[in-house]
Amino acid sequence: MELTRRDFLKASAAAAAFAAAGAPGLAPRLASAADDKGIKWGKAPCRYCGVGCCVLVGVKDGKIVATKGDPAGPVNKGLNCIKGYFLSKALYGKDRLTHPLIRKGNKMVKASWDEALNLIASKYKEAIAKTGPDSVAIYGSGQWTVFEGYTASKLFKGGIGTNNIEPNARLCMASAVAGFMSTFNSDEPMGCYDDLDLGDTYILWGANMAEAHPVLFSRLIDNKLKNKKVKIIDIATRKTRTTQMADEYIPMYPQGDLAAVNAIIHVILRDKLYDEAFVKQHVNFKRGTENQPYGLKDKENAKEEPKPLTFDEYKTLMKPMTPEWAEKLSGIPAKKIEQLAHIYGDKSRKVNSLWTMGVNQHVRGTWVNNLIYNIHLLTGKICKPGENPLSLTGQPSACGTAREVGTFSHRLPADMVVMNEAHRKKTAEIWGIDPKKISPKPGLHTVEMFRAIDRGELKCIWIQCTNPFQSMPNLSRYRKAAQARKAFIVVSDIYPTKSTEVADVILPSASWVEKEGVFGNTERRTQQWFKMVEPPGEAKEDTWQLIEFAKRIGHGGLFPYSQKNFYKEMWEEYRKFTVGTGKDLAPYETYFKVRGLRWPVKSNGQETRWRYTEVDDRYVKKGEGVKFYKGVGGKANVWFRPYEPPAESPDKEYPFWYCTGRLLEHWHTATMTGRVPELRRAMPGATLEIHPEDAARLGIKNRDKVKVSSRRGSLVLTAEINGRGKPEKGNVFTTFFDETKLINDLCIDAFDPISKEPDFKKCAVKIEKA
């Protein structure tokens, strides 16, 4: 029998699947001979979400022709989710941007790089000269590589002298950062994905892991199938694919988490389910500032002024937060809250909490993060293998770039902040600049940055790697401001988006394996990859774009890296920020072979799976057990955080809760996944999920057109009843990926006063048959 190339490929496909399933011995014999014929494989982290799956990219004749789940990758162990299916194709859409474009009236015309960069430089220079460095800004993302974020931060904070640099991560997990910083004084989790394999109890707070983090959810399900004790509890406002695999689904009112978690803590204290010795040794008690504004007025500001508490004072404050009290606010029956408290407090159970946007995109998101940590700190179920709280992230380098490099308007690398003189001094030393160059005043946070465009205060903004003119809440205000040409807007991207639509200059970028890069995922894993294919046309990487711009405004000297060792030299400079701080990164070459390493990387080159414990973290001495060494006195903070209502709740006129989110098949604003026809077909446009009883009452049938209106705008969507997701009564849900339905027009731009992260999960709408 003659064997064709197809026979070989099929054998390879089967072999890879057998290997990933843990049975390589069953693979067809043909496979080994076939696999590499003409294909060169390179490793990279997946381009899409924050899970950071390890993939192998197959290149032939300068094009990506195949992808594999990386069998050597500990995150996903050889398997990708459906978005991985489309990974490489996301680069090959017909409308890829391939040359710079400059606005001439209503038209965008082709320009050379020189023309485009000279124009940007002249606009920035003019604004800085006339209205000062704080009248210009850059807005990036958690999809920036470490190099891109580092270049932007150094240029704006250390060169131009403004802290007006923000990542879209402000809209995504700023509350997680604020939660980590206020509780542990160090960002990012103590645990890691191994906890998904080693624990036996998983409590999900408003997280649809099956769709938003499918590979991690598969790990959880694998654990469940192997271990009968494993229990998954899904607490949410909507039934999802996650619910289908959970042991228990507990419906909850929006904002109900604030009350429910407090009542769980009440029961833990009342029934003495806490670990007295752990609390005594590792915990301080604090109370923050309450009744802070929701940021609905421009320039409205809040200040957190913490006060210390004793354990007894804290217990007294927690007394009124009974399960009965919480039942009214959360809709969770008091008995259920008692049960949850006893599950958390059960010494024979290894309990993990998991959450993401439901907790973070919340007007009191920092508080809910604090409260979940409170439970784990009080019960001592933290810093132990298989037993931890884990804040999940959404973007591939939200952790590596936005958080670790510190591309927020108040942050510097490695958890440092611009407000702290010693931090500015250390930064200036590494950057080789005068410490006075770094402003001690935090820059504009994201919502204020876009409001400042509307107010005419921000003259120039450069957007890279994200799509704010689709993803901002209360969107129409910001779109109108841009359309009125109130600021000079530069957008670097790989496809046309709702943001390039309002740009004055569009720059074509290189993406993913068209450049060298580093991403950092949810579990502190730093992953490096090399360039594998050329970007199309004249597209250039964002780092190059920024440095060429820097040269034109007199800051080229900040980037003295050689052409030959460009990335290595920049990495080693950045790494200086991390060494000895508990956030230690390894020398650049270390990352070439490994499938990432979780920081702090030890002096012997080993990674750290669990932080703050002598079991694994070299910053904790033998005999110390657990030590929160970044905190004051080596302790973490338990915060008193009461219930406060959302910024807007349903009323007679707008009787429904409006919640937004995403689906398995689409990622972010779908500028990459929307280009892939299969993904569009599976879920072609945004729909409005509604409870069948609500629909019946309004005379709405499945697939009917409905008009959804909030105080900020209205749009027509197709009703979806008993579809993939099923919201609770009084709630509707829609997705933000569809650029033909700007659903964020309806969202309120209220935000958490501490994290400044907007609440995309709660506002009031009315529904009518269209």
Partner: protein
């Protein structure tokens, strides 16, 4: 024609029944059932379009928890130029 190798995770004890159903889907070859309740299948279709539809069909079979992709080759699709010849972004 694109080819992919997938791992189908089944609810405990349902793998034989899922394998039987999966074999009836044209374009899907079941290569084996593993002791841990997973199936290995190869999907071959005229376009990535159809290939994904087939993967979705597998995911919707009663008894299936998830379908994950281990390997995806679309070398001849790329050679035709464009994403898969039908990309209308």
């Amino acid at each position: 024609m694109p080819i992919s190798g997938v791992v189908v995770s089944c609810r405990p004890g349902r793998e034989a029944e899922v394998a039987e159903q999966a074999r009836l889907v044209p374009g899907v070859e079941v290569h084996g059932t593993l002791p841990n309740g997973q199936l290995v299948a190869v999907i071959e279709a005229a376009s990535v379009h159809t290939e994904v539809d087939l993967a979705s069909q597998l995911e919707q079979l009663d008894g299936v928890i998830s379908v994950q992709v281990a390997y995806h080759n679309f070398e001849d699709v790329v050679q035709q130029g464009g994403a898969d010849g039908t990309d209308e972004a």
